[in-house]
């Protein structure tokens, strides 16, 4: 048997590029792809310290939805969802994008009010949303325990039918293949160790594989963005935390939607292959350790069993953590930094995967034109000074 062709080259870095993207995860690859596709910029390198898409892209729970509360968030996540809907065809690669519906459960009167408010807000923003009462939840997802005797009974749920999951690895591979075909260099094993800045402008990055001159530098390094910002001489309102998840052993298809619960705190879907994929909240403390506390997994599994007593004998196959960069208002930071022509796309916290195409689209546009894309503008760094925060703690699904 011969090895199949590689989907992308493994080039050495050239001495200079028009645009250097730091971070070869989903956002970095999507940004590179849209730089070429939408703006004709192909003298571009994506630098990845490890291997492509081996960080948070390999560690998320693959959920896609756009039912955020505020106008600014709904706009950018809905832009992303619309891109998802055409992405498999566009990239000519089956992303296993499955719009199976996302339920966000309500367990208290406060949850119910918040959920109903969010449904109305979503509809005003052109995002599909429905409110289901407990009986309708049971009908939509028969496995969910809606007993009134549960410790935190299910009182209802929001439903976004267009939400769902995709196969994260396929997303990365498909974007990487297309970016590579445009001539963009995807450079792996290349860690950025410093920036050359003169007159307030970045002119080059120093890497473990030598100096690379850059017309523009774009950070897309998720949990490690603070580390890079410090190298470039500025601070960002970000804290890096472990976000844990786990998968079960393989099961026959039993769960055909995504179920999320903020109150008891777990989110569950079933991967195409058959594992139950479960996510937890972030660990409380700052960490770059890519593993968290066992007690967080314990709480997550207790919550899962509360909702799905039928899973009580299912075994855990493996657990892991990604490092997420959390901002004070649970919204991303996209745009300019104190260093001229050094851009940032960070702070996606627990919501980065679903934003992959949308973030790449607006970030590429921002980089190409040297000013924020209209959808990115509200997410500028200066909102923490002006006070125009986009407080998405409620709709971000994971308690930060």
């Amino acid at each position: 048997m011969t090895h199949p062709d590689f989907l992308w080259r493994d080039p050495d870095p050239r001495p200079s590029y028009d645009v250097v993207i730091v971070g070869g995860g989903g956002h970095g690859l999507a940004t590179a792809y849209y730089l070429a596709r939408n703006h004709g910029l192909t003298n571009v390198a994506v630098l990845e310290k490890g291997w492509l898409a081996g960080g948070n892209m390999a560690r998320n729970t693959t959920i896609i939805r756009s039912n955020y509360l505020w106008d600014e968030s709904a706009a950018i996540y809905e832009h992303s969802l619309k891109l998802w809907e055409g992405l498999s065809a566009e990239l000519d690669y089956d992303l296993q994008f499955s719009q199976r519906g996302v339920l966000n459960l309500a367990h208290s009167l406060g949850d119910v009010r918040e959920g109903r408010r969010r449904v109305e807000a979503n509809r005003l923003n052109g995002v599909d949303a429905e409110w289901l009462d407990a009986d309708e939840v049971k009908k939509f997802c028969p496995l969910v325990n809606v007993s009134a005797r549960a410790r935190y009974p299910v009182l209802g749920a929001t439903l976004q039918r267009r939400g769902g999951i995709a196969k994260h690895d396929h997303v990365a591979w498909a974007l990487a293949r297309r970016a590579d075909a445009y001539g963009i260099d995807l450079v792996q094993g290349c860690e950025v160790t410093g920036f050359e800045i003169s007159g307030g402008r970045v002119t080059a990055v120093r890497t473990s594989r030598g100096r690379i001159a850059a017309g523009t530098v774009a950070l897309a390094a998720a949990g490690h963005t603070s580390v890079l910002a410090e190298l470039a001489g500025f601070r960002l309102p970000l804290q890096s935390h472990p976000l844990q998840a786990l998968v079960s052993e393989l099961l026959e298809p039993v769960l055909d939607c995504v179920v999320m619960s903020n109150a008891v705190h777990v989110y569950v879907s079933q991967a195409h292959k058959g594992e139950l994929v479960m996510g937890a909240g972030i660990d409380a403390y700052n960490s770059y350790g890519q593993r968290g506390g066992v007690h967080v997994i314990e709480a997550q599994m207790a919550a899962a069993l509360e909702l799905f007593p039928v899973f009580s004998r299912v075994r855990v196959l493996r657990t892991w953590a990604g490092i997420v960069d959390v901002s004070p208002d649970a919204s991303p930071i996209i745009g300019r930094t104190p260093v001229e022509n050094l851009f940032v796309n960070a702070g996606w916290g627990t919501g980065g995967f679903k934003a992959t195409p949308g973030a790449g689209w607006v970030y590429a546009d921002t980089i190409a034109h040297g000013r924020p894309h209209p959808l990115a503008e509200p997410f500028a760094l200066d909102r923490f000074t002006t006070g125009a925060l986009i407080d998405e703690h409620g709709a971000a699904a994971v308690a930060h």
Binding site: V227, R235, S240, A284, Y285, V294, F384, T386
Partner: protein, 77 residues
């Protein structure tokens, strides 16, 4: 799971504590710029390495105290 040395109760399981973030963040003077005030409210150090931070022994003596923890290895000193 972390084993956190409470100065009053001794080393205890992380479950007993609440996290308080970076230690030693001083409130700026009353006359301060918007940027300085924003930095005080929202910006904290986020090092990959040693970090001085606050913990609260919520299920014990209810004391706030400071430890130094390595954010990659989780070692506490």
């Amino acid at each position: 799971m972390l084993l956190i040395p409470c100065p009053f109760c001794g080393p205890r399981d992380e479950n007993e504590f609440r996290y308080g973030g970076q230690a030693g963040v001083a409130c700026p003077e009353r006359k301060t710029s918007d940027a300085e005030w924003a930095a005080y409210l929202f910006v904290r150090d986020n090092p990959k390495g040693w970090f001085r931070e606050r913990w609260f022994h919520a299920h014990g003596c209810r004391t706030w105290f400071t430890v130094e923890r390595h954010t990659l290895t989780q070692e506490i000193r």
